[in-house]
């Protein structure tokens, strides 16, 4: 090594842990289907593309986003399963609950990733940060039967580098004095937050590795790079900038709902019904977090995987489906082509703001809006009691009358077909179900 001088001599000014589940969806499936352990498993069967691949499948060349027939070609014995988001969500919640037994400062970064601030916990565990992280990793594996990769370092950016360092079941600890060792062979584009453009730009200055970037002086960084990259530069040097945001996700920049249906369709009413259902779902979520959207994006995916979309600015931020139907229809008419086959539709609610901050304008029909608020409060209460979509808009009806996926059997998760007495299509017990014959 040419440059052996450490970036910092302080070992643990802060201790941040990053936990990343290994092939999460596929691992959940292997946990509830123990006979699939050690076998190449993929999920996403109902969508026609690989949503997640187990490490056994990845080893044979299966990649995320591949079409099913391509996956079958590179790995003939691949086991294809339909997505079971209910189970994955249950596992996700449990993973965060287990992590919270160790530290109250947990950031639920995504469905299968978390940042944890464990600074100061050495005292109550009577042990090192390394031990705490190891214990956490063991507990998740023991209780959930899924493996996770763990990285511990001084900042979020560094802990993410650590957890990616070795996968699956990785365990990497980078104390301050060792940072430079891990950065010296890491290309800049592998750093969280640095994209291909920035990395190409840095190359113009002869900066290829994360270490070369971290070693640049502040003057250079301030002159050529914007604030987010200055922050990454600090984080790489072991100076904590990004806090671990200690709350479950309640802030969203946007909410998107997409659904694929098979076979592809060119039926206008049916495709609009798909959009309408997506819109209802997105609105339900927005209302759950008390948000209102100021923009609506509508898009359709053609059979050949090409997307057409349109963005509509709303006259008033809202999360009431009825108010969004007009713009939805407007957008749909602009992008829909008869005699074209579509395979999925989606809506995105963006420009989200807290519902309580929405102000009436001079032209709003306040009485009508308040009535709407009453109606949707009632709808949400009914949904909570009897299941989602107990009351829905007429436009979504064709979706209900139609199976989302026709043709091949086994496109619906077992969880939804094999019910316990008392469960129904809409509501099931909030526990994952194991599938084996005993």
């Amino acid at each position: 090594m040419i440059d052996v001088q450490p970036l910092t001599i302080h070992s643990w000014p802060r201790a941040i842990m990053h936990i990343d589940a290994d092939a999460f969806f596929a691992s959940c499936e292997q946990a509830i289907h123990p006979e699939l352990k050690g076998k190449p498993v993929i999920t996403g069967k109902e969508r026609g593309i690989v949503a997640a691949a187990s490490y056994e499948a990845k080893a044979k060349g299966v990649e995320r986003g591949m079409r099913l027939f391509e996956a079958k070609k590179v790995c003939p014995d691949v086991i294809m399963l339909p997505s079971d988001y209910e189970t994955y969500s249950l596992f996700s919640v449990r993973m965060f609950e287990i992590i919270k037994r160790f530290s109250p400062d947990v950031e639920e970064y995504s469905i299968d990733e978390a940042f944890v601030d464990i600074t100061g916990l050495r005292r109550i565990f009577h042990n090192s940060y390394e031990y705490i992280a190891q214990k956490l990793q063991e507990t998740v594996e023991k209780e959930l039967d899924i493996s996770v990769s763990v990285g511990v370092s001084l900042t979020k950016v560094l802990s993410k580098i650590a957890s990616k360092h070795k996968k699956p079941r990785g365990f990497t600890v980078i104390p301050g004095k060792d940072i430079h060792i891990y950065l010296s062979f890491l290309p800049t584009e592998k750093v969280w937050g640095i994209g291909p453009n920035t990395s190409a730009f840095l190359k113009k200055f002869g900066i290829n590795t994360a270490l070369e970037f971290a070693k640049k002086d502040e003057k250079f960084i301030k002159k050529y790079l914007s604030k987010p990259y200055q922050e990454i530069w600090h984080e790489l040097n072991g100076r904590n900038v990004y806090p671990v945001v200690n709350e479950s996700k309640s802030e969203y920049q946007s909410i998107s709902k997409t659904k694929t249906f098979t076979p592809p369709s060119d039926n206008e009413t049916f495709i609009f019904a798909q959009l309408s259902k997506n819109l209802e779902n997105a609105c339900i979520k927005a209302r759950r977090y008390r948000l209102a959207a100021s923009r609506l994006i509508v898009f359709l995916r053609r059979q050949d995987f090409r997307d057409i979309g349109i963005e509509i600015k709303l006259t008033r931020p809202t999360a009431y489906t009825a108010e969004l139907f007009e713009p939805l229809k407007e957008g749909f008419i602009k992008i829909y082509h008869p005699k074209t086959l579509f395979r999925s539709t989606g809506v995105v609610l963006s420009g989200l703001m807290p519902e309580k901050d929405v102000q009436y304008t001079l032209f709003d029909d306040v009485a009508r809006i308040q009535k709407m608020a009453k109606i949707y409060t009632a709808v949400d209460i009914l949904s909570e009691r009897f299941g989602k979509h107990t009351i829905h808009h007429g436009a979504s009806l064709p979706v209900k009358l139609h199976a989302q996926h026709q043709g091949e059997r086994g496109d619906i998760a077992q969880r939804k077909t094999e019910l316990f007495k008392g469960e129904n299509k809409r509501q099931r017990l909030g526990l994952p179900v194991m599938n084996m014959k005993v």
Binding site: R94, E143, L144, K437
Partner: protein
């Protein structure tokens, strides 16, 4: 007559105080008792002050005195049991709490075979399985023996392990290779209706 009126006035002011948790302002008293002029309110307050119904602080604001005490209403006998307070219900378990000890490690499993019928576990029943729990002698476990999954009693004697069914139709199993235990059965649930 005069006294009745006064009693009524004290009652409405006291009612206001107990409902809102603060004393009414002069104009509010006016509204409460039906006075249009503030002067009338002022006189009433002075009167009540003399009777020790209320007092005024240094800045002249009203503070409750005798009306501050809990109201005793004649004619209604305090009797019976207070409605169940939350504290009394704090020491009850929900069915969830009863059946599930470690929520994060608990899974459900539908039974298909009858090898544990003697233990009251029948085909179609739902068993609650806890992962990551160290099985003890006599526990019912979900285990993999030579590539097959099964639910049996676990018998430990020293180093030797035997899986024992609760149905004479089946024989005890002595695993030849490694025994993998997926979890311990902590409860069985059977719903009839």
């Amino acid at each position: 007559m005069q006294e009745d009126k006064l009693k009524h006035r004290v009652k409405v002011i006291s009612g206001f105080y107990h409902q809102k948790g603060r004393m009414p302002s002069f104009s509010e008293i006016g509204e409460l008792v039906g006075f249009k002029s503030k002067n009338a309110v002022f006189k009433l307050v002075a009167n009540l002050e003399k009777m020790d119904v209320l007092r005024r602080d240094k800045k002249g604001r009203l503070i409750p005195h005798s009306i501050g005490q809990p109201v005793k209403i004649l004619g209604i006998v305090e009797a019976g049991f207070p409605s169940p307070a939350e504290e009394d219900l704090a020491d009850t378990l929900s069915l969830d709490d009863l059946l599930i000890q470690n929520k994060e490690a608990t899974f459900l499993l539908k039974v298909s075979g009858d090898s544990m019928s003697g233990a009251g576990i029948l085909p179609g029943d739902m068993v609650i399985v806890e992962k990551g729990r160290t099985p003890k002698n006599g526990d019912i476990v979900i285990a993999e023996v030579d590539g097959e999954w099964t639910m049996k009693y676990l018998k430990k004697r020293g180093e030797s392990i035997t899986l024992i069914p609760a149905n004479p139709k089946y024989k005890p199993i002595k695993p030849k290779n490694e025994l993998k235990i997926a979890g311990v059965v902590t409860a069985v649930v059977r719903k009839y209706l």
